[in-house]
């Protein structure tokens, strides 16, 4: 620790507090207001209710929709059944593209780690581009391309589009794990005469498992989040949840959106927590 006089330290602390407040206040506020019973003026607190969440669940067919909810008489607070479909699309697209991305991204990371070839560093840097490039440019380029080759727009087009940039994320995650990994086990396996594929399957893969799971979950969350690329490359029956939410927000700021939004926050947080739990430093071997 450096020698800082007290005022300097206090200012830094205060700033840090405000910083985290700034970061979390909007989200917390969103969650709080999702329990607001006021159906007319969303910003005025008029009581606690679970009804917005119940409406969402009813919409998804998880509970019966026969009960009278808060605000049922207000036609403007229209509960769009497309919610369920978009959720299904989001899940399918997410799991599929995350799986593909994990496979491709891991292979690429291993290749970059193990083999030295001309242009390796450049390729490594180039892998960052799909992540950094503004998603609207990528989304439009993909739309232009898919249209040029007459590829039908639908779930598959969204999955392919997501896989591109998700792979780069996975490569980074696996790559950093590989960089810090002990090669001696693999070398021992090769010394014992195992074929490279066997070494890969029974030595390397188990060692990578936490990173694989972490990478997969990271890809999953990012796919769930994507709006712009899905917006441009989606077709029949592949409207994802963010795309649905985007048009719902523009249309009419209904308190039900608060409930949907809060649920999404909760799910994302749970996934990330799970990812970290899986990657926690183990006390056994390695």
């Amino acid at each position: 620790m450096t020698r800082w006089t007290k005022p300097g330290q206090r200012v830094l602390s205060a700033h840090a507090w405000l910083f985290f407040l700034f970061l979390y206040a909007p989200i917390m506020m969103l969650v709080i207001y999702s329990f607001n019973a006021n159906t007319v003026s969303m910003m005025t607190w008029s009581g606690f209710t679970f009804d917005w969440y119940l409406r969402v669940f009813a919409n998804l067919g998880l509970i019966s929709s026969d009960r009278a909810f808060v605000g049922s008489e207000n036609l403007q607070l229209y509960s769009d059944p497309a919610l369920g479909r978009s959720l299904k699309s989001t899940l399918i697209v997410g799991f599929t593209s995350a799986t593909l991305a994990t496979i491709i991204g891991t292979l690429t990371a291993i290749g970059l780690d193990r083999y030295n070839f001309w242009g390796r560093k450049a390729y490594q840097a180039f892998l960052l581009v799909p992540i950094v490039i503004p998603d609207i440019v990528l989304g439009l380029a993909l739309l232009v391309f898919l249209s040029a080759i007459s590829f039908p727009l639908g779930r598959i087009s969204v999955i392919l589009s997501h896989t591109i940039f998700l792979s780069s994320y996975v490569t980074i995650v696996i790559g950093s794990r590989l960089a810090g990994m002990d090669r001696s086990l693999e070398e021992a396996s090769a010394d014992l005469g195992a074929r490279p594929l066997t070494t890969f399957r029974r030595v390397l893969l188990p060692q990578l498992t936490p990173a694989l799971v972490g990478g997969f979950l990271l890809a999953l969350v990012i796919s769930f989040d994507d709006l712009v690329i899905a917006f441009f490359t989606s077709g029949v029956g592949s409207t994802t949840l963010p795309v649905f939410l985007f048009s719902a927000i523009k249309r009419n700021v209904s308190p039900e959106i608060n409930a949907i939004a809060s649920l999404m926050i909760f799910v994302s947080t749970a996934i990330v927590a799970l990812a970290l739990f899986v990657r926690r430093p183990k006390t056994t071997e390695n």
Binding site: Y123, I133, P134, L140, I164, S167
Partner: protein, 309 residues
């Protein structure tokens, strides 16, 4: 396996290319087919002629870039220079730059604070910083709508405290867009900064104090230069996505102003002018590549030279 010699280490030498092919092949193929080709296609489209209802005709034409730059073009009824699009570019770059700078100002002290904590606290705080990033971006933008609306939380709070009597018009202003984007990209600034600050050699700072330098001088001449790679990385990682951000200007900006992102969407969707849209997209791509080069070069200098003073 012959019994004579000890089992040879199996390195698969005869098929040396199999390993690289299997591991790197899929990724490269995908990158080529689903990234390079589409971007290249867009770049090509930018120099073709547009079809009436969208799409392109395969005839070369500089019209799209001429329009972007504002050159007179009689076929498009432009008899003098018009800087509408250049102005949009400047506005967008300005907004993205302001967002990046704000992120730096807000993020640097926070990153410093976190980096100087003990190990356990450090990573926990870092986790706290990145966690909001995983909440859906759209959702977080939406939260700001609720805060900034005329009947929103901020206005209600200010009125409740008696500081203002009439609600302020906060949403639908460029400032609001900047704040929303700041919120969005703050983790992108804090993480690289943290990485850089963590590597700081405390003894150099101590030495600076020992030599009698005051805090600000120490910061300016020791800390800042040594964390410059983190600063550059952070600035670029905020600037580039902010430049292309589509949701913030649409939801929070109120549609009154055009930025590069909304211009892109409009060119392709509303005006169906694909060459022009492609020109804008190409321009954005070039900016991205330049920005990444900036990071690469700054890292390169860092590795090559001794610590700057």
């Amino acid at each position: 396996m012959t019994a004579a010699a000890p089992p040879a280490r199996n390195t698969g030498k005869p098929r040396k290319w199999v390993g690289p092919l299997i591991t790197l092949g899929p990724g490269m193929l995908m990158l080529l087919a689903l990234f390079l080709v589409p971007i290249a296609l867009v770049t090509i489209y930018s120099v073709l002629t547009g079809d009436t209802y969208g799409g392109v005709k395969w005839e070369l034409s500089p019209a799209a870039y001429k329009r972007l730059v504002g050159m007179p073009d009689l076929e498009e009824l432009r008899d003098t220079w018009e800087f509408v699009y250049l102005w949009i570019i400047i506005k967008s770059i300005g907004l993205a730059a302001v967002t990046a700078l704000l992120a730096l100002i807000v993020g640097y002290p926070a990153a410093y604070y976190i980096a100087r904590r003990g190990d356990k606290q450090k990573y926990f705080l870092l986790f706290l910083v990145t966690l909001p990033f995983f909440a859906n971006a759209l959702v977080r933008m939406y939260a700001w709508i609720l805060i900034l609306r005329k009947d929103g939380i901020l206005n209600n709070a200010l009125q409740g405290m008696g500081l203002i009597h009439e609600p302020l018009q906060m949403i639908y202003t460029p400032g609001a867009v900047a704040v929303a984007m700041l919120y969005q990209y703050l983790p992108f600034m804090v993480l690289p900064l943290f990485a850089s600050i963590e590597k700081l050699d405390g003894s150099l700072i101590e030495a600076s104090f020992d030599l009698g330098a005051r805090r600000f001088t120490t910061f300016r001449r020791v800390v800042l230069p040594m964390t410059m790679p983190g600063v550059v990385a952070g600035l670029v990682l905020v600037f580039v996505p902010a430049l292309g951000n589509f949701v913030a200007p649409t939801l929070i900006g109120g549609g009154k102003d055009l930025y590069l992102s909304t211009l892109l969407a409009q060119a392709f969707l509303t005006a169906r002018d694909w060459p022009f849209g492609s020109a804008v997209a190409t321009f954005l791509s070039v900016v991205v590549v330049l920005a990444l080069l900036a990071i690469a070069m700054s890292n390169g200098e860092r590795k090559a030279g001794a610590p700057q003073s």
